[in-house]
Assembly symmetry: C2
């Protein structure tokens, strides 16, 4: 039986810390505030938004919902992003992506002040993660994996970590974050050959590809720590599953994050912690 690395206690601990910091900021007259920019009514955006709002409320972070139609004019959208970014009362911005087709993702993201880029999508944030400097923020999902490792006392330094997936939202930034913690990091992807041979030899395996139950028993070995960032709808089983075939991997490894209830459940807590940190930084604390 592997130890389950559940996300809830991690999120709870992080939330508790945020609550204290938010209270300190309020004593100084600062109400940490997150703007959520959304185009249209995508169900998964709405679901994440509800979670984020609930988390913010529980901590004492205000939320401003900036909602535009899916067919918003580019000029209007960019002007809105700029206005939100320039607003001194807003400390963090979450902009749902992918954006509608008529909008240019790079133009949109670069209108944001990197100091308010709490989901780590601007050039400033990417450079911060890449160069290991305190500039901008890491993407919340990538940071959530690190928070789980920290909470459960999993040391990364000197460990052989294999990461499957190289997206800009999870794979690449997480590779950098793990490298910054002195792990020896191997980045695998669709072109990787003999993947099970590579993953089986690792001490830590992180999957982030979004293909339900792709990685079965043959990818794992005894004593490993497995973190599953993937979460997608499994048509066959009619439920949400991770990239890892949990029933097969769990008996093999020593620790594993469940899906749901693992990495995903820490993401909004990280988001809120970033808003608090942004409010601190922007006010010179």
């Amino acid at each position: 039986m592997a130890e389950l690395l559940k996300g809830k206690p991690v999120a709870d601990a992080l939330t508790e810390k945020c609550r204290e910091k938010a209270a300190e900021l309020k004593e100084k007259g600062i109400v940490p505030t997150l703007a959520i920019i959304r185009c249209g009514e995508d169900p998964s955006d709405l679901s994440y938004e509800r979670g984020a709002m609930k988390r913010c409320e529980s901590v004492g972070v205000e939320v401003r919902n900036v909602v535009m139609p899916r067919d918003v004019e580019p000029e209007e959208f960019y002007a809105t992003v700029k206005k939100v970014s320039d607003d001194p009362g807003i400390h963090g911005i979450l902009m749902f992506r992918p954006l509608p087709k008529q909008l240019d993702a790079i133009t949109a993201r670069e209108l944001m002040n990197p100091d308010k880029d709490v989901d780590g999508c601007t050039q400033g944030s990417m450079t911060g993660v890449y160069t290991n400097t305190k500039q901008g923020f890491a993407p919340c999902t990538a940071q959530a994996v690190i928070e789980i490792f920290d909470y459960y006392g999993i040391e990364l330094s000197g460990k052989n970590a294999v990461l499957i997936g190289r997206s800009l939202v999870v794979g690449k930034p997480l590779a950098m974050l793990m490298l910054n913690r002195n792990a020896t990091v191997t980045i695998c992807h669709t072109r990787t050959k003999d993947l099970p041979e590579i993953t089986k030899k690792a001490e830590i395996v992180v999957t982030a590809i979004g293909v339900p139950e792709k990685f079965g028993a043959e990818y794992f070995s005894e004593g490993q720590i497995a973190a599953d960032v993937g979460i997608s709808w499994n048509e066959t089983k009619q439920k949400l599953t991770g990239d890892i075939f949990f029933e097969e991997a769990e008996p093999v490894v020593s620790k594993i994050t469940p899906v749901p209830g693992g990495v995903g459940s820490v993401t909004t807590a990280v988001l809120v912690s970033h808003v608090i940190e942004a409010a601190q930084r922007l006010n010179g604390f």
Copy 2:
């Protein structure tokens, strides 16, 4: 006997291509021009500068030498960098680093237009390499390794590549460049455990740490391709050597870059190719 992956033919081929492109630009009234910003008279800066100037001359790229004393006032330095960056007659900028202590490296680099950042040190260039988009340029030394692989027909896609070193000048950008070419990349460093076990299993090993003859026979296995980015003064042998103990590794591997005469000898050719590309991009070709 391993095949020697010499840098000279790679540099020559790249230079020849650059010569043609420079001629095309000149027909359009554009003289591709590189500005070299240097503080003081560091011998290794001067040596690299001479090499770069010679290479530029052979291609038809003009060079403007911008030399300031080592104790230059920060205001004067920053103003000079900005002036050089704003000069429409300059297409590429090479700024020798590390800068003197009184100067802030980040301030200085960000004064450069990323479109002219031919040695890939600005945030714009780093993001370009990290996100695999045509923005700015990769650091010349990292790109030189890729040029060698390309010239000798060494396919990276699907290969297991191990990189030792994680600097921003070579290790990290090269990891990204190799990942962009679909290699499975493992990034190793001082905290990596059982390094020989890791390197021996790779198909490609790239060393970039700057410790003379650190990696002997025990790090290599038959059939491997080894590229040595390190070049440092070997006190014992009173000569320049790479990170790889060449005499030990060469009989084991199938292909290897010599030091000197390997990666280092391609760097200025890459620099010149970046100046040409910058001149093309800045003029909309």
